[in-house]
Symmetry: C2
Subunit: 112 residues, 2 copies
């Protein structure tokens, strides 16, 4: 294994980063959803500090990827959007966490 291959392997975990989860805005959404059963749109918006438009667009991306599921309900005739993590989303977070752990372990060259 030559030096080039070695270096490529060192940077491989960064190449493998899931950009969908890695973006701070979506990371906040996924992080919050990972510790609650479900959340509604307005509540999630308040917890994350995102604007309505920003949250909506990013929820759509996560839904399209199969990481979250969205359910529309009515409470006293008022529409409510409920968001929850899917099994696939939970798995994606776990993979992201393990991959990033590897990245962090290799930063600065000291292994912990």
């Amino acid at each position: 294994m030559n030096q080039s291959e070695s270096s490529n392997q060192e940077l491989q975990p960064i190449t493998n980063i899931d950009p969908l989860i890695h973006a701070p805005t979506r990371l906040k959404i996924m992080a919050y959803l990972s510790i609650v059963e479900s959340a509604d749109f307005t509540f999630l918006m308040n917890q994350t500090g995102l604007t309505r438009g920003n949250l909506s667009v990013n929820l759509r991306k996560l839904e399209d990827a199969g990481y979250i599921s969205i359910k529309k309900v009515f409470v006293d005739r008022i529409p409510r959007t409920l968001i929850r993590l899917t099994g696939e989303g939970r798995l994606a977070i776990q993979t992201y966490r393990e991959n990033m752990q590897q990245v962090l372990n290799e930063l600065l060259g000291d292994k912990e």
Copy 2:
């Protein structure tokens, strides 16, 4: 401390993420420089797989932030650009690592 404050504190580490380092392209650059004394432009380009323009623009950003220093030398009349991490850059990586460790520890709600 009400629930809102608690949630805001949980997401705080994500809010504190340094976007300069967090972007995968620059994370690769910083990660590589964190384990070598210095690297030259062409070598770094080969190790990271980036194009000349992409690497140049991102090196400029890291230099402007004070995370790296750039030195131009001539080897047999050929220009060479040498890049190395600064003390401030090393500190920024350390802060990023600690902050992201916190993020990872809180994902999925289980503490390790």
